[in-house]
């Protein structure tokens, strides 16, 4: 792999016809592997990367039915934060944020991490009280978090309208909260994994499994059978379908989550601002577009298409907080099929089928988890036991009743 550097950009930039080498090799699948990762989203690619990089596993394949990052990892609003309520979540997501903080160096690919702070608003006295408790719990989890007064919020985000129908009473901020470039994260992991010998196979759908005595022996794909004793599912919205082919039922519901961007304008927003009560969040991309989103369309869907009522609600909520954007036009709106779990905590680790591992249940918030998700899954696959950071996230928690109910604690989950 040719490294990217200031010098290489200069060199290629000076050429009349820049000849950038392909970032990764698109290959045909071999007949057998030490591990097969199903799904070429951020989680699948990162898992393959850490298998090769940390554990020295070389015969690894990532099988993607479409194109790299064509799923949710290339459709999200790029928000990272680690201000979670439960210690298990905070430890995991903060590890992920720490990995993001050095990811550009690790991958030799600029992921354009911008730690501009994530600001959550409270619209009533009671909400502010709950937020104080939440912010305190986050500090006890060793994660940065600060309560802000309405005046401090106005200073941070001068365009905001505090006098909304339910006036802004305060809020809290995680200053390390960030946005980054999702394509760069996907491509960066793909390129670095490929350089370590990982086979990245696009246009290859996994259609079934070769199971013997409850153990994985291989996968069936649209490009032939592949034998392997370790398979990791990282297929987000299609987890239930694929798991069913291995005889498993999952506590996952697939829904559409939509987002939209405005036409680009000069830099005017400083933070990622979100409100759980009016259910929307907005930030400004480096290109100048306002990126906004809210909740999922709450019915089962694989349509990859967001409904109009929710779009209208997102835009209305944004205009209530930032009336100054009233004249802007929307440029694009799109959706991804997200894998919602009952407690909005991911489902990671072992399954009842030996050699079959699962990485799913990310729902509306798994972009921020890509580095730690990959790191902990790689460890789990190699040692056939869950990494300590994800022990609480196992599929078995639904039978034991030990849920990690971040949904109740976290408000908007992105």
């Amino acid at each position: 792999m040719k490294g990217y550097s200031f010098y290489s950009i200069l060199k290629h930039g000076m050429r009349r016809k820049p000849r950038w080498p392909a970032a990764w090799h698109d290959v045909s699948p071999q007949r057998s592997y030490d591990a097969v990762i199903v799904g070429g989203g951020g989680h699948g690619l990162a898992t393959a990367y850490y298998l090769a990089r940390t554990h020295g596993m070389r015969r690894v394949a990532v099988l993607e039915k479409g194109w790299l990052g064509g799923g949710n990892s290339g459709r999200n609003t790029q928000v990272s934060r680690s201000n979670y309520f439960w210690p298990e979540s905070a430890a995991f997501y903060d590890r992920s944020l720490q990995l993001y903080e050095t990811l550009s160096h690790e991958l030799n690919f600029n992921v354009m991490l911008s730690q501009r702070g994530i600001l959550s608003l409270a619209h009533s006295h009671h909400e502010l009280e709950t937020m104080r408790r939440w912010a305190n719990a986050i500090q006890v989890n060793d994660v940065d978090s600060e309560i802000l007064s309405p005046q401090q919020i106005k200073k941070l985000e001068p365009l905001i309208n505090l006098d909304t129908r339910f006036p802004v009473r305060g809020g809290f901020i995680q200053r390390r909260g960030a946005i980054s470039r999702h394509d760069a994260v996907n491509w960066g992991y793909a390129r670095a994994a490929s350089a370590l010998g990982v086979d990245i196979v696009q246009n290859c759908e996994v259609t079934g499994f070769d199971l013997r005595n409850g153990e994985v022996r291989g996968v069936e794909t649209t490009r032939g059978s592949i034998s392997t004793e370790r398979v990791c599912l990282a297929v987000a919205g299609h987890s239930s379908q694929l798991a069913a082919r291995a005889g498993l039922r999952l506590p996952i519901t697939s829904m559409s989550l939509q987002a939209m961007v405005s036409e680009p304008i000069k830099p005017v927003l400083n933070t990622i601002t979100m409100s759980a009560v009016i259910h929307m969040y907005v930030s400004q991309s480096d290109r100048g577009e306002l990126v906004l989103g809210g909740g999922a369309d709450v019915y089962n869907s694989y349509a990859q298409r967001g409904g109009l009522p929710l779009l209208e609600q997102n835009v209305a909520a944004m205009l209530e907080l930032f009336p100054v954007f009233r004249g802007l036009r929307l440029l694009r709106q799109w959706a991804g099929t997200v894998d919602i779990s009952p407690d909005t905590t991911p489902i990671m680790g072992l399954t009842p089928v030996k050699g079959l591992y699962i990485n799913a249940g990310w729902g509306t918030g798994g972009y921020k988890a890509i580095p730690a998700g990959g790191e902990t899954m790689a460890h789990t696959i190699v040692s056939d036991s869950p990494h300590p950071l994800i022990r609480a996230f196992g599929l078995d928690r639904f039978a034991t009743g030990r849920l990690v109910d971040e949904g109740a604690a976290a408000g908007v989950a992105h």
Binding site: A303, G307, A399, G401
Partner: protein, 97 residues
């Protein structure tokens, strides 16, 4: 925008309704094991294709009913009352890939 056919009120916009998840889930007996309870409480078919599901006409008659809907196209394929068996859909049943 989806429109649903309430069996009591007729066709209305989706905003009048609330989604109630998969239909025809039966509660296990009190002797059920933890695994059976978990299956009942949390596991779902989550089908891609024809899905039998419950909807509630909250901003209307306030009644529940069942809908057959294709989750990959949002096409409405049938409506039936609570307690009624799921009607057959010749040629339509089963998952799409």
């Amino acid at each position: 925008m989806m429109q649903l056919q309430c069996p009591y009120c007729g066709v209305r916009d989706e905003m009048e309704f609330r989604f109630g998840g998969q239909s025809h889930i039966t509660r296990p007996s009190p002797e059920a094991t933890d695994a059976e309870w978990a299956d009942y409480l949390f596991n779902r078919d989550n089908l891609k294709g024809v899905h039998a599901e419950r909807w509630y006409h909250g901003f209307g008659c306030g009644r529940w009913f069942n809908v057959l809907r294709d989750t990959s196209t949002h096409e409405m394929l049938g409506v039936y009352r609570m307690g009624a068996p799921r009607p057959a859909l010749p040629g339509k049943d089963g998952e799409t890939p």
